[in-house]
Amino acid sequence: MRMINFAKRNFKELIRDPLSLVFEIVLPLFLLFIFQQFDIPADNYRLENFTPSIILFGFSFITLFSATLISKDRTSSFLIRLGTSPMKSSDYILGYIISLIPIVLIQNILFFLTAIIMGLEFSISIISTILVSIIISIFFISLGILIGSLVSEKGTGGLGSIIVQLVCFTSGMYFPKEVIGGVFEVICKSLPFEACLNIIQGTLHNDFSNLTLIHIIVFLIYFIAVILLSIIVFKKRMVSDNK
């Protein structure tokens, strides 16, 4: 109950910040729309490929704004007050995660609705893609909790922007990694964003031929590591911030 109560508060804080809505929803929708207005001769920009890319792009802003919320809470006396209440660490962590799931759902529904209006064929795999996206979003939310626990509000802007850039350039959203090759290709393979995109695209297309075992291993390592680290660092910070 305390967890849900906290999640409701977090959701209201996020939804009432117009800047967060612009970046989490309006900007990705605009990109989805605008890139379909040009006849770009590359597979990445085909509606069935670019819609999953936009979902992932939207998630990078979920990381940014969840980090900002947590960092703000930490630096204000708000978490000091809650620290003296009977709330437990699990109430905080799950409260932050649960509050962002409705935003992820709103993003997905709006992105797919727009894509369908622009010509994406409706299929049942859209529903499974949304469900898979929600699981992947937990990684991005946890990354936000980790960043928000580690750095100040100013720092979250910088680190969050790096995540947005990494998603854009290493996921294969705009161009395949093979275009640059070399070290860049190794970096793309070592980061989880290409794996995330391939999982979402594979679910939508019902075709996982682009998804390798390496992708799955890399994603799982990051997914588990980031969730565990976010819990450990947040708990430690709750104590050290109050010193």
Binding site: R9, E13, S77, I80
Partner: protein, 240 residues
């Protein structure tokens, strides 16, 4: 049974001793002011007694419950109004009250919220977002929130800091109404506030409580003209 009982309460941060072996006995319903210069260890003491940070050594008992064993039971019956206003900025005043009622799982929350709205005269700002309120209103809301769970022990950390004289007097009136019903630990830099509101005053210097008594007792002990002079004399070891 004391409301708060500490024995040799100590907090060290690396090599620095912030609180040095405090023995404190505070009676139920007492308003105890904790005074000291900046860095004397008041806030660290409050953070330990309110369960926010762990002591390095020593023990804390709240209404006979041990802080180490019964921390979550203790947290149900105390509340804190921190130095800075601690409210959710994008929530309205009413939503802030409802949220905190949810944190403490208050059963009859509407009744309690209405009680606080009346006590703190919050009607006119009830539907305004907290971040749009003046500093005085934010502090008032922050203190109102700290009463949501009918705490048996309330920590007020510099509650009137930055308030104008009228807002300060209004808050004093409310604190006076609470006196005797709940145990209040107050920290303040305003000597007049400590003298006017508290039953007893403890003065901290470099992490230790060097004197405890009523304002009259402390004035008599130092042979000072008034309480402010008595405090200065104690805090400086008679140098000023």
């Amino acid at each position: 049974m004391y409301s708060i009982e500490t024995k040799k309460l100590t907090k060290k941060f690396k090599d620095k001793i912030a609180v040095n072996g405090i023995d404190l006995n505070i009676k139920q319903g007492e308003l105890f002011a904790l005074l000291g210069t900046n860095g004397a260890g008041k806030t660290t003491t409050i953070k330990m007694i309110s369960g926010l940070i762990l002591p390095t050594s020593g023990s804390i008992k709240i209404l006979d419950m041990d802080m180490k064993k019964d921390v979550f039971k203790i947290k149900e019956i105390l509340n804190v109004s921190p130095q800075e206003t601690a409210i959710a900025p994008n929530l309205t005043v009413k939503e802030n009250l409802e949220f905190t009622a949810g944190v403490y799982m208050i059963k009859d929350k509407d009744k309690k919220i209405n009680e606080l709205i009346k006590l703190f005269k919050l009607d006119e700002v009830l539907n305004k977002r907290a971040k749009t309120l003046s500093g005085g209103w934010q502090r008032k809301v922050s203190i109102a929130i700290s009463l949501i769970n009918d705490p048996k022990i309330l920590f007020l950390d510099e509650p009137t800091l930055g308030l104008d004289v009228i807002a300060r007097k209004e808050l004093w009136k409310i604190i006076n109404e609470l006196k005797g019903k709940i145990t209040i630990i107050l920290t303040t830099h305003y000597m007049e506030e400590a003298e006017s509101l508290s039953d007893r005053i403890g003065i901290m210097v470099s992490g230790s409580i060097v004197e405890v008594g009523t304002s009259e007792e402390l004035i008599n002990k130092t042979k000072a003209k008034n309480f402010e002079d008595a405090f200065v004399s104690i805090a400086t070891g008679g140098e000023l």
